[in-house]
């Protein structure tokens, strides 16, 4: 079990995340086809591939995270590209050491979310990836707040659960952003593709941290 968040953990987590979104490729495309243009599986696989490739290069943790951000934005476009890019850019600013303690890790995650918020106004309930992202970061942070001795593994496990629950709720929401927005009430009934993929990614991070 991992006690500190390092580049090795990051790389491992990204590889698991890539495998997971690849496995759910068709499902993610289908979710996006219901309300959008049917390519979120394609987009998120390309995103995670670019992330893994960037993380495989020799560099410290913070530089790696910013390389990932640039890698994502260079390799992919669409809505997910800049959102994910800004998340990793934010993580990069928050990565203050090569091995982060649990509380430093939560601060890093918060920094990622803050950077994303500068590029989107979507909040919980708007049926976007923020429905997974915001609860995931909050769960890590509140786990630490209620137990200052919480392990990295406990933090990421809480995030993964919150992301999954957040994504599941999007089925009941009306889309306010992205291509699904124009559907109005008709966007209800299926989960948001971006939230669903993010839940998979948080699960991969939890698994990577737990396995050490």
């Amino acid at each position: 079990m991992t006690t500190e968040f390092t580049k090795d953990v990051l790389l491992k987590a990204l590889r698991l995340a890539l495998a997971s979104v690849e496995e759910h490729f068709d499902e993610l495309n289908a979710l996006d086809a219901a309300t959008g243009d049917g390519d979120h599986g394609t987009a998120i696989v390309a995103t995670m591939k670019a992330a893994v490739e960037a993380a495989e290069q020799p560099a410290g943790l913070s530089d790696t995270l910013s390389n990932i951000a640039m890698g994502i934005m260079s390799a992919t476009g669409g809505s997910t590209s800049s959102l994910n890019g800004s998340f990793y850019m934010g993580l990069s600013s928050g990565a203050v050491a090569e091995a982060l303690t649990p509380s430093q890790t939560v601060a890093m995650l918060q920094s990622g979310l803050d950077m994303m918020k500068t590029t989107t106004n979507a909040v919980v309930g708007d049926k976007t990836m923020m429905d997974a992202m915001i609860p995931a970061i909050e769960a890590a942070s509140s786990t630490l707040a209620s137990n200052s001795g919480a392990t990295l593994s406990e933090l990421f496990a809480a995030s993964a659960v919150a992301a999954r629950e957040g994504a599941a709720k999007t089925a009941d929401y009306v889309a306010k952003f992205g291509r699904a927005r124009n559907l109005g009430e008709r966007s209800k009934g299926s989960c948001d593709a971006g939230a669903t993929s993010l839940a998979l990614i948080f699960q991969a991070f939890a698994d990577a941290v737990a396995e050490g």
Partner: protein, 334 residues
């Protein structure tokens, strides 16, 4: 089910289509840095460069309109995905010494985000870029805020006009003013009969029953109208759509408009002519003059059946620019 498309490795489709395009029209355009289409012979630097960005899969849009009198560059993403900001910045850099740069951005989440990020990055490098956003889809209602409206095929007539203006040597402010003038008075509405198949994901986008159509559907099969409804005659569809468009652009008796039927993919030119005929009748019946028109596939959505109907109101200046010569592979005017 096997996709009924001529493809090789679906992941390479964007590269391959751009390569094929560049080999097909070498006198007019060329491909640089894998995803940037530029003119074979650049225009002189004392003119303003007109650039756009957007996903592939909508051919001939947008890269088909690179050429004399229209675009200087088109930055291409993957299928239905805007290019990432770094690629856009790369294109902007190529025109940093020009009289100015105008970036035309269709209002879609991905296009906007990547364009905005690119403008920030370019700005840091000291490259000044102005932006024109097109958001002329009236599916959400003719009074819907611009943020809620998608950018559909209307960007192309707009590019025709500002491209001609740039060619004539106008400066950035003049072109922006002109572009916004036309932009304010243009509107598009789409109708779909059969949905598209995503060439990479391999699946159909959206769903329509055997006897259904949807007015107001977006560029890829995303809904947005009032949902599917029973199919109707060409005349009924034409009349319903053109009346909304006339109201949206507030075209008045005596005014001159462009009326364009833009096929989505599988809908035949035959059908577009039948639709055009009725739309023309309604428009001219209200005393509005059709000063320019076209039935063609300018922005497609794979093999979807349907079309976008476009109306833009001219003044003398924009009409003259619309009719000015151009030599893009998919829009030639003598």
């Amino acid at each position: 089910m096997v996709m009924k498309k001529f493809l090789n490795d679906p992941q390479r489709v964007t590269n391959e289509l751009l390569e094929g395009y560049a080999l097909c029209y070498p006198q007019k355009i060329k491909l640089v840095s894998e995803k940037i289409v530029v003119r074979a012979t650049p225009k002189s630097k004392d003119k303003v460069a007109i650039i756009t960005l957007g996903g592939a899969g909508h051919e001939p849009a947008l890269s088909g309109f690179v050429g004399e009198g229209m675009l200087d560059a088109s930055v291409v993403g993957d299928i239905f995905a805007a290019p990432g900001a770094p690629k856009v910045v790369e294109a902007l850099r190529m025109f940093r010494d020009y009289k100015g740069i105008i970036l035309v951005v269709l209002n879609h989440e991905g296009d906007q985000r990547n364009a905005n990020m690119a403008l920030l990055m370019a700005n840091k490098e000291g490259i000044q870029v102005s932006k024109i956003v097109t958001a002329e889809d009236i599916a959400p209602g003719i009074d819907a805020p611009a943020a809620d409206r998608r950018g559909l095929g209307g960007c192309i007539p707009l590019i025709k006009i500002i491209g001609a203006a740039a060619e004539q040597g106008m400066d950035v402010d003049q072109i922006l003013e002109l572009g916004e003038r036309f932009n304010k008075r243009m509107a598009t509405l789409a109708v779909t009969l059969k949905v598209a198949t995503h060439p990479q994901a391999g699946q159909e986008i959206g769903a329509l029953g055997d006897d259904q159509m949807e007015i107001g559907m977006g560029q890829h099969g995303e809904g947005g109208g009032n949902g599917p409804e029973p199919m109707q005659s060409a005349d009924w569809v034409a009349e319903t759509m053109v009346k909304k468009l006339i109201r949206a652009v507030d075209a008045k008796k005596g005014e001159k408009i462009a009326l364009i039927i833009n096929g989505s993919g599988a809908t035949t030119l035959m059908e577009m002519f039948v639709v055009f005929r009725k739309a023309y009748e309604i428009v001219t019946g209200e005393g509005i003059e059709v000063a320019a028109s076209q039935c063609a596939e300018i922005l497609t959505v794979q093999e979807a059946a349907g079309f976008q109907m476009f109306i833009g109101v001219f003044d003398d200046e924009t009409l003259a620019l619309y009719n000015a010569p151009s030599d893009a592979p998919y829009w030639t005017v003598r």
